[in-house]
């Protein structure tokens, strides 16, 4: 089967890969590029565990063909931290214990980052609607919401400083 050459930017680095047309972006991230932080929960766009940011927009990487990524910029969970310094949403998830099994966590972190990139002062309602496409079977979401609110507060304070 002929493989297609795809040229992208992933987490700020020029990344080229070969893939088959039916492979999803999630398949390629995990199986070809070894970026296994994005998880496959449902494979049908319902659970959000595979969330990535494509040209600034939150998407499910399981609902995109990898070939569609040609010419686009992708941020994955692996790109959230800066070196050993965690992104505020990552730090606050730890502090608030906003995870148990952790399977949904990369997707929730990427979703939370995408929200705070566009709105540093979301209401609780806005947060809950924004993450409605991220299923978590452990936390009951409350700690997740508190962690995102706290991360937003910290990022607002950083911006003022």
């Amino acid at each position: 089967m002929s493989r297609t050459h795809v040229s992208t930017v992933i987490n700020g680095e020029q990344t080229d890969f070969l893939c088959e047309p039916q492979q999803t972006l999630l398949d390629v991230l995990r199986d070809e590029l070894n970026l296994t932080g994005s998880k496959e929960g449902c494979g049908s766009g319902d659970c959000g565990a595979c969330s990535v940011i494509l040209d600034g927009r939150l998407v499910c990487s399981c609902l995109m063909l990898a070939v569609e990524a040609e010419g686009h910029s992708i941020q994955t969970i692996e790109g959230l931290a800066t070196g050993s310094k965690l992104h505020p949403v990552q730090q606050k998830f730890l502090e608030h214990a906003a995870l148990q099994c952790g399977f949904c966590t990369p997707g929730l972190l990427v979703a939370a980052k995408a929200l705070l990139d566009r709105n540093l002062n979301p209401t609780e309602t806005e947060i809950r609607y924004w993450i409605a496409g991220n299923l978590c079977r452990c936390t009951g979401y409350d700690k997740v919401v508190r962690a995102i609110q706290d991360a937003a507060a910290e990022m607002r304070a950083e911006k003022r400083a």
């Binding site: 089967m1 047309p21 766009g45 927009r57 998407v59 063909l65 569609e68 496409g133």
Partner: protein, 290 residues
Amino acid sequence: MATLTYQAPATVQDAVRILAGAAGLAKPLSGGTDLLVQLRSGRLKPELIVDTKKIPGMIGIREVDGGFVIGAATPGAVIGEHAALEKAWPGVVEAANLIGSTQVQGRASLAGNLCNASPAADSVPALIAAKATVVIVGPKGRREAPVESICTGPGRTSLARDEIITEFHLPKRPPRSGDAYLRFIPRTEMDIAVVGAGVNVTLDANGVCREARVALGAVAPTALLVPEAAAALIGHKLDQATLDALDAAARKACKPIDDKRGTIDYRIKVAGVLARRAAAIAFERAGAHR
């Protein structure tokens, strides 16, 4: 699995030619939020996918002669962020934004929602109520068709295999116009409509309805334009008798199925209730334009 070919042509003419030349099943791809699920489940086994998103104009919104042209593959999130479109057609925008999650909104398009041909598609009743049309391009050129002429049954459309939708057109609004879309689901997010109702009205200076279109979703094999429900509004203010007549006309148009989301009786009852509530919002929005 049969070999799948992916093509992303740069012109609509190339897209049509590639679709026309396919031997087996060929599917146009816009946002892919339905198509990829069907690929994966094996429900669809296309030999060819033609990605329409590299074609100029397929993504984006522009104002033309007081109306709007929405590229067929424009994601819901982009539609929701367009302030002028939201002001003119709040019902269409709220319907498009009800589809799926934030993640799905990052990709899902009007063309995909329409051509997937689910009876429960949220944007479709709102677009029908808005008198939206689509531009269709095929080997014989370009034609325009009303949205209500596209779906012919669950999963089936009136498009030829080598035709693609390139644009949605929303007409210019007369003064004192308003539209609204409501869907009923048993939770607040991430579900498929049990019933959907779109209402679009234009009022005169006295608040009397002069033009109306009412459309219902998930109560028949396709979304329904219900002229009898519109007739119940035209010539009237939104008083109790008018609401009762609208409710009755909406219920009478329903031909729903029993399924896990709702029974026939339940869907019919809810269709009447949603039509009333959507009409109340549409009238209020039309009044706000005075």
